[in-house]
Amino acid sequence: MKKTFFTSGTPFIWLTGLAAALGLLMIVGLLLLILVNGLGIFWPQNLQQFTLKDGSVVLGEVWEKETHDNYDTGREETRYRIKTANRDFYGLDFRWLKEDDISERQMPPTAWVLERQAWGQFFGFIIRLSNNGVALASDELNVAAQLPEWHEKMLAAADEIHQLEKGSIGSISMQIENMRLEKRKVILRRDTTTASGRAALRRVDEELASLERQYQELEKELMQRITDSRAITITLRTIDGQEKELPLIDVVRMWQPNRMSAPEKAGLYAARVWEFLSGEPREANMEGGVFPAIFGTVLMVILMSIAAVPIGVLTAVYLREYAKQGPVVRAVRIAVNNMAGVPSIVYGIFGLGFFVYTVGGTIDQLFYSEALPSPTFGTGGILWASLTLALLTLPVVVVATEEGLAAVPRSIRDGSLALGATKFETLWRIILPSTSPAILTGTILAIARAAGEVAPLMVTGVVKLAPSLPLDSTFPYLHLERKFMHLGFHIYDVGFQSPNVEAALPIVYATTLLLVLIILTLNLTAILLRNRLYARFSVTKI
């Protein structure tokens, strides 16, 4: 009986099934953890007011409940972790409350949640709305009635200020900077003692002066607008009676959670998720959105693919189709396979030493010498980071393509050659198209690896906060030398380095979820494309 059980193979089936189930369970568990923690944070929770037995009051969201043994009494007690926000008043965003200390709970309907440009959220009441110190509304009801309209105006004003800063002022600052470099170039390259040299210098100086004048005017306008917009203020009062005046323009979003219905909350939820996806980060990345990081990640992956796929495919074609099979080719193949196993930080350091310092440094000396000693290409940037990752993912593309080439049946090649096609024509028209699903598989694997890689990027161009995107509307549009932000690094930075980790932790989960989703989307697109190609070039199956 026992013998037949073992020899029947049943235990082995169980074993394999168990292994598969375990792997699946771990993946599902991880995804669930990220989903639960990442999706919940944007939901507007109700604000609870706790009156404590010592008479003090606390206003906040309940985040966690736990029981523990008190050290002094040895008794078990229940307590809650309350998000009180108001970092500028209390120093911390969270505090613990003991169940035994609470004498009364209620939900004040007029309590506001404010998302602010600085200092995180505010929980409390808005008691006054004023214009230049003159009250426009001075009781809670009136304030609540007038606030939405004023806030709309302020958001529009903030938008205009932003446009002015990034648009006109940004471009004129850049022109001034270029003109300065031009001036240095003239001084460096031309003899300013000659008449033509002096004339060139004068011309540059004049242009610089005219640009400076334009700039001064714009700056005056900007400062005027900023002062004007800051005249509209609201007076905040915390639950324990502390007051503070805040320019309305510094409020990103405001709502009264205890008054909202479920559909209203759903609407707000969607708006906050959208802000997270499309907004700029604030407060050392702990608040606001992650758009620059999404943009940087995707652009880097695209640049990486542009570099890695053609080179990888050409290498594979040479190795499989043209090279004489022998010990040398075998050695090359082994080397390529082993490259896939080299730790990614080694590539990072190679990228830093070769791309950034050697190649970038040389480019700077040849073409950007007037900007030295501050480097242009001789420092980390999106180009160098993409090339480093291209090196890292090259073996994946090579191996996948080679396998695809090997799978093309000999009969098809022979058929093509027999019909009079040259070797190149056979390759170009017959073999490569039927290999394209394999090439895409390689690309998928490469993208998935590149999008999740952080270590090599840290030394080749990823920064915590990049002032401008690597792709914008100023010439030459794609700025390959710029540093960029990346979702993986964002997770590392916010999770491990941010000073207020308790408040920032939800952002880490949300960002992780986003990174997983982006990789999933990239992969799904590639898989769909591959399946369509399979359907078209299914010669191998005939």
């Binding site: 505090r95 941010s498 000073p499």
Partner: protein, 324 residues
């Protein structure tokens, strides 16, 4: 001998036991001046130096750019030792350093320019020792910390402290092992703690090394029996910063702004910004304004936001006078 030490430690614990420590709100000195915008400031700020101050420099630069939208900023943070060469070569106007310049570095600077570099204190970094919020412990001496964290015990203890009972805790805590959290060796915090709290000794192998200050705090808030060190700004509601004393039996002080600036708290350091200022000659306006911005109410608020301690008005005013 040893028993006596424990007794003293326990006594000092008792003395402190009555005052419960609460997270304090750090605020800037109200006597600090506001920043006032001047006209005609433009150019590029180049900063090369400490990685500890990377975040701070970036935040200051952002705040400064609000006043002067055409000022461009480049911050490079690869370590304090990269600041002096950059200042000497002129590739940066600012050299942020989390320590003072060594004599050799000052000499090299003086050889090139004929005068010494100017150190502008910008903020204070106080290192706190954290325990879980449920831990009844209120304070430790540096010797006790050395016996907890170090395997060399240069502080003088003849045996390692491994259980909470040895620090005077009773009940279910007495037999629980102490679980250690620390930073990885690349961190400046690791080096500073080693030098000042471990008396240049070595860490125990059982210290769980974390990749960031925030993850030390996270670890301790999850681990009820944990202890670790990080900057005071990283405090959360899950942990408690305990008081520290220089020696066994001496009074122990919590890391508050007052105790730190009075020099009573033993683990604190200034964070400096080094500049090149020729004596009896006015500073370049851009450099001057950036320093004045840091030494203003707004600049010091950035310090609080980034998790460090702001300067008291006395220090600020002295430094402002030096620059202007």
């Amino acid at each position: 001998m040893f028993k006596k030490k424990i007794l003293i430690a326990a006594l000092s614990l008792l003395a402190l036991g009555s005052t419960t420590l609460q997270a304090q709100k750090i605020s800037v000195d109200p006597a600090l001046p506001e920043y006032k915008k001047v006209s005609g400031i433009s150019g590029t700020i180049n900063s090369i130096g400490s990685d500890t101050m990377n975040n701070l420099m970036t935040l200051w630069a952002e705040g400064f750019a609000k006043y002067y939208p055409n000022v461009r900023v480049q911050v490079e943070g690869k370590g304090s030792s990269t600041a002096p060469p950059a200042l000497i070569a002129g590739t940066a106007q600012f050299g942020p350093m989390s320590r003072t310049m060594k004599k050799g570095e000052i000499d090299k600077f003086e050889k090139k320019f004929g005068y010494k570099p100017t150190a502008v204190p910008t903020s204070i970094d106080a290192l706190a020792v954290y325990v879980n919020k449920d831990n009844p412990l209120t304070g430790l001496s540096l010797q006790q910390i050395d016996a907890i964290f170090s395997k060399t015990r240069r502080g003088g203890y003849d045996h390692a402290i491994t259980r909470w009972g040895e620090l005077g805790l009773t009940g279910p805590w007495a037999n629980k092992p102490i679980s250690l959290y620390g930073r990885n060796s690349a961190s400046g915090t690791y080096g500073y703690f080693k030098k000042h709290a471990l008396f240049k000794g070595d860490y125990k192998d059982s210290v769980k090394e974390q990749p960031g200050s925030a993850s030390v705090v996270q670890g301790i808030s999850e681990d009820k029996y944990g202890i670790g060190y990080s900057g005071i700004g990283y405090i959360t509601s899950g942990v408690k910063a305990i008081a520290l004393g220089k020696k066994d039996g001496q009074k122990q002080y919590t890391p508050t702004v007052e105790n730190v600036t009075a020099g009573k708290y033993p683990l604190a350091r200034f964070l400096y910004l080094y500049i090149n200022k020729a004596p009896n000659r006015p500073l370049d306006p851009l450099v001057r304004e950036f320093c004045l911005f840091i030494l203003s109410k707004e600049g010091q608020q950035v310090v609080v936001k980034d998790g460090y301690l702001p300067l008291p008005a006395k220090v600020v005013n002295k430094t402002r006078a030096l620059i202007q």
